[in-house]
């Protein structure tokens, strides 16, 4: 069994990451805070079964994910995958030359990406279809392995992989839409 105070201390260091993920899941701070609190409470209640030396961070995210799936899923409906239409490879990349016109210097890619606001990036994530959202958050934002995510979501690893890939494409599509709304891109390519 883990030491109580140390467990609390270690768990707390992951609170900002858990909250970041929870906010993308619930799309509002109040629900996200509740979700993180439930997660910590549940983690602490079962910390006796947590084996020291195993991955505390993965364990906390697993609890967070399960709480979200069981409690928050139906609250706010996200777009369904079928509403997205075709998802293309390199969608954002192909719009880079146009986007680069909005940046003064001979612009590096990260400068072009700086055209997108933090809110746009967060919104693009939050608007992902439900089945893409969790794999993308866990893989690309929190850097869990495909295998860890497959375990957390209880789906085959191949499914995790294809959802991450499709989720990334959907996210790019959102970003291109935002850029178009702001007139950063004019064509409809």
């Amino acid at each position: 069994m883990a030491d109580k105070a140390r467990f609390a201390n270690e768990a707390m260091q992951y609170a900002p990451q858990l909250l970041g993920t929870a906010m993308r899941m619930t799309r509002n701070r109040s629900d996200a805070e509740d979700l993180v609190q439930e997660t910590m409470l549940k983690a602490f209640r079962s910390y006796g079964s947590f084996e020291e030396g195993t991955n505390l961070r993965a364990w906390l995210f697993r609890i967070l994910t399960n709480n979200y799936i069981n409690g928050y899923n139906a609250k706010k409906v996200r777009p369904h995958e079928s509403e997205l239409g075709d998802l293309e490879n390199l969608y954002l990349y192909r719009h880079l030359p146009q986007l680069a016109h909005n940046v003064n210097r001979d612009s590096a890619e990260d400068e072009v990406l700086a055209l997108f606001t933090d809110d746009e990036v967060k919104l693009a994530l939050e608007n992902l279809p439900e089945q893409f959202l969790l794999p993308v958050l866990l893989a690309d934002i929190q850097e869990f392995s495909y295998q860890e995510i497959a375990d957390m979501l209880d789906v085959p690893i191949g499914t995790v992989m294809s959802r991450i890939h499709r989720g990334r494409k959907a996210l790019q599509k959102s970003l291109v839409d935002f850029a178009r709304d702001r007139g950063l891109i004019t064509s409809h390519g």
């Binding site: 970041g20 609190q37 910590m40 602490f44 390199l90 990260d110 933090d118 495909y146």
Partner: protein, 79 residues
Amino acid sequence: MADCNETIEQLYAYLDRHLDNELRLEIDEHLRVCPDCQGRLEFEHTLKITIRERSREEPVTDELRQRLLDCFEIDLGDE
């Protein structure tokens, strides 16, 4: 050696280091001779990092911090 289409198709799996050796080597070979695909790969990598940096964490307010710490104050003996 893979061609551009095959490379683009496998770009994410390659980026995530999730390809079997044979396919990875074929794409490695292609990337060595194709600046276009190198650029595509680098962009996807940059994009992934940018998105992560901007959304990985949210600041925890003092109030929430206290709420969370209170979770740990519950005495297991009272359960």
